[in-house]
Symmetry: C2
Subunit: 578 residues, 2 copies
């Protein structure tokens, strides 16, 4: 027996066999995620849908795009990746997200929310232009459905003059419960199932955009799904359909169904996360600051608890805003609230902040408004891979005028920076990783643009300039290794990447400069220092990520692969000053 | 008599005086724009609306945000800026867009589309939190209304639990005619005025989001506008309203009403634009290439003709896509069409491409797809100011793995690069300014990542490395000045900013290196070269824009202010090698 049926095999199963396949898939997903970490509840909820899709449609000729991609595990298991599934999210193993490189059944890579309908339209349009004939399906959750991209895509369906199927997999949750009027409207639609005739007469929102609306309100019922999809497959020849299905996030396991927020993503214990979480420190400190400062407001885009803001939202509901997965809108809300004297803190993962690049520049920074960006999961973020690494933020932020960028070396400095931010009346970004492991001895006062010497050896041959806990730790590990060989280095904590500490840089006597950061080389700390010294006689070595996308693996593995560790820094220095 | 009535004076006028005020405003706008350039038709269409707003509401206590801001001239004339209006868009004069720095009547700076409703919500939310009491109004055109930000903002109205007025100024045009289903729906609403009762009963889309829909379908009728706004002002105490008004773009002048696309923005002759337009060359060359390559498709976001694609869209309608002002969606369409073997060209202004940063990275580049970004209006773009300068693109693109960045030194090289792109199967960006002025003698074959020597003086003391027509011109002007003083320089055309030409850089014997670019220093060409030479004994001087937002002025004025000219380069070199 094949481990998991796929393709034609699957199509020959009867309903009872198909249901039992669903149970097998669910079991395999659970056991793997408990071991490897990953998205759990969302994958469990989409099992029946995935089996129904594979039963009714013909992949890879037909194309399915999973929005965000955090519900593609059953699809992977059904498309030849069952035997390797134990390597899920492991370095060199299969990715937790759809990957074209991995399988012809993955037609479009996803990772950030809201792209699936646009991608489905592009693929369908290409099909029409090329005179081909296959079906294109976007599977999107109700959380992603809040994103503005959806509107842009829906709005263009008619002018693209093509047919696609959008399956709205509605489980009432993003990571947090889904918010917003669209979701209320979806509830209205699904609750009024008995009034289908009436509803269809008074065209609903989706009809306006050229989609025929249909629903399967028990979206974990395989038989109903298969029946409806079979019917829709015919209709796709002449129209676009949005199929609204209600699924149970975490379906099949009580502990998941009861707490889908906590079981959305599962982390397994590893050196990556057995430690203090910056998000926790962030939430606690912001609550403290908000006591004395009534102007402080907290804004998030659908990730309240994972950003550490659960307590703040409970304590200060009037000053808390979660707009759903709308990073751009959230950024403008912060900027505009600041024009009226409020003090907004926008908490967001580094990788998702990329969506706000234009708004950070135009809305916040060109108006020079006191918004604080609290950028979590900065640096390599590990097992989620290419689409989730937070290694670009220093680069895309450092080019923006009026913005100050702070990078704490540990959680104590992070707290101090948050306190500093409360009285700082200009745009500020603070970037930090998920996990904190160390607390350093030196803790000097935070002054904008001023760095800190962690070891003040004036006779040092080399100055190591590092920012952020991981890089500063590496620098100090290198220092220790070098001390054993009687090589003296000076270690500097570049706690502001913007502005850089010109004065300290100008005063450094060392000819050899080493920079270390958990960010891309282009545009990051090292690049700024290279520019500062462009007309000076220095020998500079940059430790940073090179010009390539960084795949999945543990943080430690990735930093080692890219040689951003104390050992490699020490090795370089030993050779350089020889 | 005050030149233009404002505040309380305006409120004391009778209807006949108000109508005559509208005529005066219109006259002043026309005469100024014909002299200074600027947005014409959109401003003419919004005169009555602006007068009505000032008559009914109390600014600056009440707040009005103009989306994009290209319809704020009447507002400026009514708020103390009439006497300085002759300086519109001139260096040191008043801006063509709302500016908080300029007047307390401008509460929020705009420039890019779709931000006004989010900003209005943020300001209203801040008002509620602070326990204040004023009205907040967003004025948005139907073109901007296609942008996904609108959906994100509308979707959050109820959860923000606040009241605003959105005025949808519908003239049927972006710069090009407005496309998309939302616009068709707006037509449906306004055409069915007689069925108001019925329409209200079967809640329309806006009701779903918590807005009460209302309309004034002759939006240039001052009396009707005043009456409706007076009524709405009361309703804003307890609800949010969207007021749909139909206005005539270019209202009042036949030549504008008849060709609102051509009179959307007026350019006045200056050294900035008496020359070949890159957009024209782009359109012609792409048409040529498309003859032989059936896979070529062209995608734009509401700017077909200003990007030079009018002819392409006429010749190849099946392979042409204009999705409206949806830069992100357009980017994903390109990526997804490329997965199916098409060869998409996405043409866009540099400043608006900022909206696509995340999609360029995740959708195009992390999938390594053969999409060509054709980036127009790169470098300083002149009179539109801070929100429209194209000086960030080299920086935000150069950090993205898998992307090749080409920068032509003149229109001939631009043509060659477009031809090169047709056979290049990876992500590619080509950035170019609006106007071309020169054609250089040297025209060598385009090879990815290979630079070109424009003067091969091996005994030169200094190497000048420049990219793009403006910077290369500066470099050659500097060379000429220096030749007169018997100083020899080598000039290199860095026609690929990514990858840089490592081999050529490694082979340069000159100790003195000068870099020149029409881009920010951070992350641009100079920064990449500084990093290349970080461990080499070179003296490098970077000519680029510093870390500040660049205000309005002519291209020549701005480049001179920032000392990016041949004269300054020559001066630096004379001092440096002394």
């Amino acid at each position: 027996m094949p481990f998991f049926y796929s393709g034609k095999q699957l199509k020959s199963l009867n309903m009872s066999q198909l249901n039992s396949l669903c149970e097998d898939l669910r079991q395999k997903i659970l056991s793997t995620v408990l071991k490897n970490g990953g998205h759990l509840s969302s994958n469990l909820g989409a099992v029946e849908l995935t089996v129904a899709l594979h039963y009714v449609f013909d992949f890879p000729e037909d194309k399915v795009i999973f929005d965000v991609g955090h519900q593609c595990y059953a699809h992977k298991l059904l498309t030849g990746r069952a035997e390797k599934f134990d390597t899920l999210r492991k370095k060199g193993g299969i990715s937790g997200f759809p990957k074209r490189e991995e399988s012809e059944f993955d037609c479009y890579n996803t990772g950030h929310a809201g792209t699936s309908v646009s991608a489905a339209l592009g693929i369908a349009k290409a099909r029409d232009i090329s005179g081909e004939n296959f079906n294109v399906i976007a599977v999107i959750g109700d959380g992603s459905f809040n994103n503005g991209l959806i509107y842009e895509a829906f709005n263009s369906l008619r002018l693209l003059n093509t047919n696609i199927l959008v399956i709205l997999n509605d489980n009432g949750m993003s990571i947090s419960p889904t918010v917003g009027s669209m979701h209320e409207y979806l509830e209205f639609l699904s609750e009024n199932d008995e009034h289908v005739a009436k509803r269809n007469k008074h065209a609903n929102i989706f009809d306006r955009f050229g989609f025929k609306y249909d629903g399967v309100y028990d979206g974990n019922n395989l038989e109903q799904l298969i029946q409806k999809l079979t019917e829709i497959k015919e209709r796709l020849k002449h129209e676009s359909v949005i199929l609204h299905i209600l699924t149970k996030k975490g379906k099949g396991y009580e502990f998941c169904e009861e707490d889908p927020e906590a079981t959305h993503g599962i982390s397994v214990s590893s050196s990556d996360n057995v430690s203090t979480e910056y998000s926790k420190v962030f939430g606690e400190t912001l609550c403290d600051l908000a006591k004395d400062n009534k102007n402080i407001v907290a804004v998030t885009a659908a990730m309240t608890s994972s950003l550490g803001l659960g307590e703040f939202f409970e304590k200060y509901p009037q000053r808390s805003v979660d707009v759903g997965i709308c990073e751009e809108h959230a950024t403008i809300l912060c900027a505009s609230m600041a024009t009226e004297g409020l003090k907004p803190y926008y908490a967001v993962y580094s990788t998702f902040l990329q969506r706000s690049f234009d708004e950070i520049m135009i809305d916040i920074c060109s108006q020079n408004l006191p918004v604080t960006l609290c950028i979590d999961r900065a640096g390599v973020s590990g097992a989620d891979g290419e689409t989730h690494q937070g290694v670009f933020d220093l680069s895309f932020l450092s080019m923006i005028p009026n913005l100050t960028i702070a990078v704490p070396k540990d959680i104590n400095e992070f707290k101090a920076m948050l306190k500093f931010s409360a009285d700082f009346n200009y745009p500020l970004a603070i970037r930090y990783p998920r996990a904190g492991k160390r607390v350093f001895k030196v803790q000097s006062k935070i002054v904008r643009g001023k760095w800190e010497e962690l070891s003040s050896n004036e006779n040092a041959d080399v100055a190591i300039i590092a920012c952020g806990e991981r890089a500063v730790t590496d620098a100090l590990v290198a220092m220790q290794i070098l001390e054993e060989r009687n090589i003296n280095v000076k270690v500097i904590n570049a706690r502001f990447v913007k502005p850089i500490d010109d004065e300290m840089l100008a005063s450094l006597k060392q000819k050899h400069i080493v920079t270390v950061e958990d960010n891309m080389l282009a545009g990051g700390l090292g690049s700024l220092i290279n520019t500062f010294y462009a007309n000076k006689d220095k020998i500079i070595k940059n430790f940073a990520y090179p010009d390539e996308f960084i795949t999945h693996g543990s943080v430690a593995e990735l930093m080692n692969d890219y040689k951003i560790t104390g050992k490699y820094i020490a090795e370089y220095i030993i050779n350089a000053i020889r």
